[in-house]
Symmetry: D2
Subunit: 490 residues, 4 copies
C-alpha cells in the first residue's frame, strides 16, 4: 500500500490533478500548517466557540469576535497565500480551490471564511455597480493583513432550503443605496467586513423570484456599525469560523445585479460554496485516512502493527480508491466552475452541466468524508473517542460539511431538478464519454429517463438510490479517466 502521497495534501493534489500553477505556494503553505497551523487549529477547536464582545467597558456597542491569540495569524496565512486574490490575478479559480484543499486537510473551519470571501468577491466583481466595485473589491483582494473578509448570509429562522418562503429581510431604497432590515439566523463568518445578503426589495413579488442580492459592509459610511451580532452559535465543530445571528436594522446595502437577477445570483453564490465544500470534504477524508494510517502503523496487536491485519489492509485500499474517486468528482466540479463562473444569464449548457456535477459532488464527497471520519475513529479503537487525541474532531467537522450549504436531501433534489429542466444527465453523459461510450453510464441515463416519467411525488420519493448511483458512477468514471490520463502523461 502506498500511503506516502496520502500524508501530504499538496502531494496528493499534484498527483491527482496534474501540474498546477502555484505548486510551490501550496508546498510552502502546507509547510506552515505543519510547523505552526496544526497547533493553532487544535487550540481553536479546544477553546470552543469564539465569543463576541458586544460592548466595550465604556458601554459602546462593538461586536468584536474574540479568539485565541494565534487565530488571526492562521487566518491571514491563507489570505496572503492567495486564496482570494489569485482567482482575480490569475483569472482562474483553480489556485484558490487548491489552496482550499490544503487548508481543509488541516482545518475545515478556516475553509469557510475563505470560501465565503470568494463567494462575495465573485458577484461583486461581476455585478457590482462600478462605484461599488471600485470601493469594495480591492479590499477583498489585498495581499496583506489589511485584507477584508466576505460572508454570505441567506438563511433566516425559518430555514435555508426554501429561501422563497424563508427570507423575510426587506430592503427599501435610500438614495443610491438601500436599507435592509431583518435577522439572519445562520450567518457564517459573522463579523466580516463585507457580506452578500439575500433580501426582498419592498414591493417585490413573493417567492424566490422576488429576492435580490445585496452587498452589506460591516460599517456604514459614517463609521458606525452597520449590523449587530445577536450571538454566536455553539457549533460542534468548524470553530475556526464564527457563525452567528446577525441583525440588520436599516443597514446600508448595495444592490448587486438587476432586481430580477436576485435568485440567480444567490444560486451562483451557493454554487461556489458547494464546490469549496466538496474540496473541503475530500481533503478531510484524506486527512482521516492519513491519521488512521499513522495510528495503525504504531498500534500492535497479535504480534504485528494493525495496519498489516488483512481486513484492515483491505479497508485502507478501498478507502484510498474511493478517495481518488471523490477527488475526481470534486475536481471536476471545480474545473467546470472555472469555466462558467463569469457567465451571466442566459446560462449555457455548460453551466447546467456544472450545476448537476456540483450537486453530485457536494452530496457525495460530504457523505464520503463522514463515513471516512467515522471509520478513522474506529481504527483508533478506544483512543478514538477521547477528546485528547483528536480523532473524534474529524467526524464533528465532517458532519458540518455534510449539513451546511444544503444536506444530501437538498443536493439530490436540486440535482433532480436540473435533470428535469435541462436534461443535465444527458449533458453529463456526453461530457464523460468524450467519444467512447461507457455502458454503465448509458444504462444509468436510461434509468433516469424512465424515472422522469414517474408522477412527481413518486419521482421524488424514489430518486435517492438512483441519485446515489449517479454520483457514484460519475465519480468512478472520472477517476478512471484521470488514471488513464495520468498514466499516459507520466
Amino acid at each position: 500500500m502506498r500511503l506516502d502521497s496520502i500524508r501530504s495534501p499538496s502531494h496528493f493534489l499534484r498527483q491527482r490533478a496534474g501540474p498546477i500553477s502555484c505548486e510551490s505556494v501550496l508546498k510552502d503553505y502546507e509547510g506552515w500548517w505543519e510547523r505552526e497551523g496544526r497547533a493553532i487549529s487544535a487550540t481553536v477547536d479546544r477553546a470552543g466557540t469564539p465569543w463576541v464582545r458586544m460592548f466595550d467597558a465604556a458601554g459602546r456597542r462593538v461586536d468584536e469576535i474574540l479568539y485565541p491569540a494565534d487565530y488571526r495569524r492562521m487566518l491571514l496565512e491563507g489570505y496572503r497565500a492567495g486564496v482570494i486574490w489569485r482567482a482575480f490575478k490569475e483569472n482562474s479559480l483553480l489556485p484558490s480551490l487548491s489552496l482550499l484543499y490544503v487548508t481543509s486537510f488541516y482545518d475545515c473551519g478556516v475553509t469557510c471564511p475563505y470560501g465565503v470571501s470568494l463567494s462575495t468577491a465573485v458577484p461583486l466583481s461581476k455585478c457590482g455597480a462600478p462605484a461599488v466595485r471600485e470601493r469594495f473589491l480591492p479590499k477583498l483582494l489585498r495581499e496583506d493583513e489589511e485584507v477584508w473578509q466576505g460572508a454570505t448570509w441567506m438563511t433566516e429562522i425559518k430555514g435555508g432550503s426554501d429561501l422563497g418562503a424563508g427570507v423575510e429581510t426587506t430592503a427599501v431604497p435610500d438614495g443610491g443605496a438601500w436599507r435592509l432590515t431583518g435577522d439572519k439566523y445562520f450567518s457564517s463568518n459573522a463579523g466580516a467586513e463585507l457580506a452578500v445578503v439575500a433580501a426582498r426589495p419592498k414591493g417585490a413579488p413573493p417567492g424566490v423570484r422576488g429576492l435580490a442580492l445585496f452587498l452589506v459592509p460591516r460599517r456604514r459610511e459614517n463609521g458606525e456599525l452597520n449590523y449587530t451580532i445577536r450571538r454566536l452559535k455553539d457549533k460542534i465543530a468548524t470553530r475556526s469560523v464564527p457563525t452567528g445571528e446577525v441583525e440588520l436594522r436599516a443597514s446600508e446595502g448595495y444592490l448587486l445585479g438587476g432586481p430580477e437577477e436576485g435568485i440567480y445570483l444567490i444560486l451562483e453564490v451557493l454554487n461556489i460554496s458547494r464546490v469549496a465544500n466538496s474540496f473541503g470534504s475530500v481533503a478531510l477524508a484524506q486527512r482521516a485516512i492519513a491519521d488512521a494510517a499513522q495510528y495503525a502503523e504504531t498500534r500492535v496487536a497479535f504480534g504485528r502493527p494493525v495496519i498489516e491485519h488483512p481486513m484492515l489492509q483491505r479497508q485502507f485500499e478501498e478507502r484510498i480508491e474511493n478517495l481518488r474517486a471523490a477527488f475526481a468528482l470534486a475536481w471536476e466540479a471545480g474545473f467546470l466552475l472555472n469555466e462558467v463562473w463569469r457567465e451571466r444569464r442566459p446560462y449555457s449548457d455548460r453551466y447546467h452541466l456544472f450545476r448537476l456535477v456540483a450537486h453530485l459532488a457536494k452530496y457525495w464527497t460530504a457523505e464520503f468524508a463522514v463515513q471516512t471520519a467515522k471509520w478513522c475513529m474506529e481504527v483508533h479503537g478506544g483512543v478514538g473517542v477521547l477528546e485528547e487525541f483528536g480523532a473524534e474532531r474529524l467526524l464533528r467537522e465532517a458532519m458540518i460539511l455534510a449539513i451546511w450549504e444544503g444536506t444530501a436531501h437538498r443536493q439530490l433534489l436540486d440535482a433532480l431538478e436540473v435533470i428535469e429542466r435541462k436534461q443535465a444527465h444527458r449533458l453529463l453523459l456526453r461530457h464523460l464519454e468524450s467519444g467512447e461510450p461507457i455502458p454503465e453510464l448509458r444504462e444509468l441515463a436510461a434509468a433516469i429517463d424512465a424515472h422522469l416519467k414517474l408522477p412527481p411525488e413518486q419521482r421524488e420519493r424514489e430518486w435517492e438510490p438512483l441519485g446515489a448511483r449517479l454520483a457514484s458512477s460519475v465519480a468512478g468514471a472520472l477517476s478512471l479517466r484521470e488514471q488513464a490520463s495520468s498514466k499516459s502523461t507520466r
Copy 2:
C-alpha cells in the same frame, strides 16, 4: 406512517418482544425519565467529564467521583427498578435487558454501569467461592440506595483486542486471597465498589490461556482504598459513566473460577456487555428516529412539514423497518444469552450459537445506531450541528457504542472464528429455519462454507462483506419471523 410506538421505548419493546414480565415497571421507569431523567441526563452531558477528587482538604487520598448534584438520583432509579436484582430474583435476564433498553433510549451512558454491574454479578454468582459470594453478591443485589456497583476492567495500555499480549497486571497469592498489581487503561465505571479484573497469576503461561479473572473491591478489608484512579478520561459522550485509568497496587483480589477458566470467564463477561450494548444501540436508534420525527413534524418548507416531503417520508419508513430488524437481532441475542448464561464449560452448541449471534448483533446494531444518529442530525439541518438542541449528542453516544466492547472489525473476526471452530453458521441456519428452509440463508451458508476454504490471510481479508451480509440477513429473517408471530398472536 405510524410513529406513535417509536416515541416510547417501552411501547416499542412490548410491541416487538411481546408480553414481558415487568411491563408496568418499565412504564413507570419510562415515566420517571420523561419527568426528571431527561433533564438530568442533559445536565450530565453538558457538564462534561465528571471529575475526581483525589485528596480531601486534609490531604487524605479519597478518589471520589464528583458529578452534578442530580446524577446519583438518576443512577439509582435503574438499580431500584431492578436492572440487576431482577435477573436473580426472577431468574431471567430479560427484565434487566428490557430495563437497559428503556434506559438507553434516554441515556446510553447510564446503561454502562448497569451493564457492567450485571457482568460483575453473573460470574460472581456462578464461580465465586461461597464465602466470597456471600460477602459480596448481596451488596450488588440490594434494591435500595446502598446498592453496590460493579465494573469490568480488562484493557490495559497496549489495547483491548489482544488480551493475551495486552494484560500485564499480575496476581500473587496472599493467604486465601490474591494481590494484584498493574494499570487498567480503560476502566469503565471507575469508582465502582466491586470490579472483575483480568490478571495473570504469577507463574501462569503467557497468552490468553494464562489469564485469570479476579474480583477486586474498592476497599480493602481494613477499610483502605484498594485501588486508585489515576485520572478520568475526557470521552466525547457517555459522560454518565466515569471511565478512568485505575491503578492496582497489591490490591486485594479474589479468584473467580479455576485458574484455567480465566479466559472463558472473561469472554462470558464480555458477551453480556455486548448484548447490553446491542440493546443500547437499538434504543438509541429508536430515539434518533423519534427525535427526527418530532423535528420534521414542526419544520415547514415549501408549504408543508418536511416529514411529508416524499424523499424524507421514504427515509423514515426505511429507518423504521431497519429498526425492527435491528431490534429482532438484539432481542435474539438477549434471548439466547438468557438460555446459556448459567452454563459452564464444556459449553453446549446453544452457547456457540449465542456467541455468533452476539457478535453479529453487537456489530450490526452499533452500525445502525451510528448511521441513524447521523441521519437524525441531517434531518435537523443546521440546527443539527448546534450544541443547543441536542441532536448532535446522539451521534457522539453512538460512536462510543460502536467502539467499546470491540469495534466492528473485532466482532466480525470473532464471528468468523466461532464459525471456523464450531460451524456456528450451520447452527444458526438450523435455529432460524425451524422446519421451513429459507433460501437466502441457505445460499449464504454455502457461500460461507466456500469462504472457509480460502487460505487464512485471504479468508480474513475478504470476510467483511460476507459477514455484513450474514448480519443483515439474520436480522431480516428474525424480523420476518417476529412479524409473522405477532400477526398470528394478535
Copy 3:
C-alpha cells in the same frame, strides 16, 4: 473559642437576634441545605453562567433560562419556606430576612432572586392600581411551585449610580397601560415573570425627577413574550441568579404610584435590596469563618492543628467579634426597614434614620464579607486557591455583594447626603443612646458636624475615613447593646 454557633446560620441568628417567629421553619430550611442544597449550589457554580435558549428548534423565540437540572428545586425551597409570602402573611419582613440569612450562608446567588422578588412585591402591594395588584400580587405570594418571581431592572449601559442620566428607557401611555422601550444592561433575575423597571414617561423632565417605576410582566396579555433577553452575563459568581441584558420593545407596563413618585419608589426598592445584601454579606462572612475553622481543625503543622496556633487563634477571635458587630448592624437595618417599609411620602424621621443605617450596613458588611473571605482562603493556604475545594468561591461571591446595589463609594456618598439633608447622624445618635450617652458616638457626631461645614468638593473628598469610622462605631455600639440585652434576658 466557641465555634459551634458559627457553624449553623439559624443557630447564630437565634443567638444574636433573639427569639424569631419562624424558628422551626429556619431549622428545617437549614436542614434541607445541608442535605441537598450544598451539592446543588456547588453544581450551579461549577456549571458557570446559565445559558439562555433563545429559539426553540422550530424557530420560535422563547428566551428560556437553562440550568443544571436540580436548580429549580433549590430555588423553590426558599419560596415555599416563605421568603416572600411570609412578609405579607405575617405582616413583617423579619422572617423573610431571616430566611435570606440562612440562604446566603449556603448560596449568596439565590438570595438575589428572593431579594428582588421581595422588592417587586412591596411596591406592587403599596402603589399598584387595585386591578394591577389583584392581577399580579397573588402570583408572587403563592406558596407552591407555581410562584412567580420578581426582578428590579434599573441600570442601563451608562451605569447605575447616576440614574437620572443613565435611564434612557422611555414609556408612552397606551390605553390604561404603558409601552416601554429601552435596554436594561444589568438585569438580575432575567427571565422573571414580573419586573419593576425604571423608565421615563414621554414628556417627563430630565434627571431623576422625571423617572417613574413600572411593572413589566414576562408575557403580554396575549401570551407573547413581553421582553427579550439579549444575553446573559458571565459573572464571576452568584451564578444561581441569571443576570442579563433585557430588551424592552413596546413592552406592556403598568405605572406604580404617581408619576412624580418614581424616584422615591426606585429608592425604596433599592433600600430593600441593600438590606437583603447586608444580610447576605454577614451570612457569607459567617460561612467563611465556619469553613476556615473546619479546615484549621484538621490541618496539622508543628505538631498541632493550626487552629491552635496563637496568631491564628487571635484572628479567629477577632473575626467572630467583628462578625457579631456586622450582624448587629445588618439586623438593625432590617429592624428599621420593618418599621418603615409601608411608609409613603412624606417620610418620617424614622425613614431617614433607616436610610442612613441601610447605607452604612450595605457598605460595612460587604467590606467585612470580602475581607473575611480573603482571610478564609489564606487560612486554607495552597488549597485555598484550588477550584477543587471551594474556598475561593466565597471571595468571588463576596466581591459581587460588595459591588452590586452600589459600591462602597456610592453608599458612603448616599450616607453623606442623608446626613447633609436630614441630619440623619443626629437621628442615629439619639436612636443609639436611648437615654445613656455614648461618648465615642458623641464625639463622632461632632466631627461630622464640623465636616459638614467644609466646602462641597472637600467634604466629599475627605468623607471616606469619617464615614468608615461612623459605620464601625455604630456596628460596635449595636453589638454592645445586643450583648447587654442578651445577657439580661438569658
Copy 4:
C-alpha cells in the same frame, strides 16, 4: 494626578529605581507585551488550567504539558530577554528582577517559571558538584529557545509551612547520584527540565535538619522520564504556570551542597522566590491602578468622568503613594538579595537583614496587591465582576501571590524568628537610618524589644499588629529616602 508613569512598568521602574543597566531591553520587552503578549496572556487565562497529555496514542507515557498554541512564544520572550542568563552574565540579579517586574505587570503567572528557574540556577551554580554544574547549568542559561526551565519542589501533601514534618520524600545513594522517591503536592512549573527538590537522605535525622536539596532532571541519563506528573491542579489564576502533583519513583537526583546544608539551601531558594513574588505583587498593583484609571477616565457619571469625583481622586492619590512605598520595600529586598545571594554559611549580618526585609516585603506587597486589585474591581462597578472585561482576573492573580511562597501568617512568624534570633530589627534600624535617626522607627524598635520579652505563646499571638506596623513603617521610610534621593539626583 500624574498617571502617565503608572501605565508603563518600565517607566515606573526607571523612575523609582533609578538608572538600570538593561533599560532598552526592558522597553523592548514591554513593547512586545503590548503588541502580542497581552492577547496571549488573556487566551491562557481564559483557556483555564493547561492539560497534561499522559500517554501518546501509542501508549507511551509522555507527560507533556499542553497549552494554547502561542504560550511557548510568550514564555520564551522573557528567557530570551535574559531573565535568567543576565543574572550570571552581568553578575547581578537586578536586571532579572527588573524583567520580572515588567513580566508581572502583564502576566503574574509567567513570573513563576522565571522565578523558579532562577531559584534553580542559583544553588546549582553555588553548590553543584563541578560535573553536575557543567552538565546542567549551561542549559538553564541558554539565550535561545532550547533553554531549559527550572522548578522548586518542596511541599508535600501535609503542607509546606512545616517542612520538617511535611517532607516524606526519601533519597538513597546510588553510585555518584541518588534515587528519590516521594510525592510532591504543589509542584510549580511541573514539566520543567530541571528541579530542585527537598528530600530526606536515608538515615538522616528527623525534622528540618535532616533535609537535603537535590537536583532532579526531567529525563534520566538513558532518556527515560525521571518523574511523572500525576495531574495538574485547577488553580483560580496564574494559569500561565502549570502547577501539578509530581511523583518521584527512584528518580535520579544530584545532591546540592553538603547534607547538613540542606535546610539552609532550601531557605535560600525560597528567599529568591519571595523576592520575585514581591516584585510581582507590586507590578500587579501598578497594573490594577493603571486599569482602574483607564476605566475611570472613560466612565462618566453626574456630568464628569468618575476619575474626577473627589472621593475617587483621593483614593487614586493614596493608592499611588502606597504603590511607591510598596515598590521601595520590594526593591530594597531585591537590592539586599543582590548583595548576599552568593553567600554561604556562616551568613553575615547583611544576610539576616535581608531575610527580615524579604519577609516583610513578601507579606506587605502581596497584601497591597490584593487590596488594590479588589479596589480596581470596585472602581469598575458592575463591569468589574464580569469575566468579559478582565478586571476580576487581577484579584485572582493577587490572591495566589498572597498565598504561595508562604501566607502573611508565615512571613510574619518568620520575620519574628529572625528578629528573635538575630536581632534583625536592630540591623534594619541601623540600615535605614544611615546616620540620621528616624523617630518613628526608633519607637517601633523599642516596642519590638519589649514585645520580645513576652512569653512565647503571647509573643506569637500578639505579634501581627506590630509586624504590620513594622512593614508599613519600613516601606514608608524607604519611600521617603528614595524620593529624597531621586529629588537630589534629578
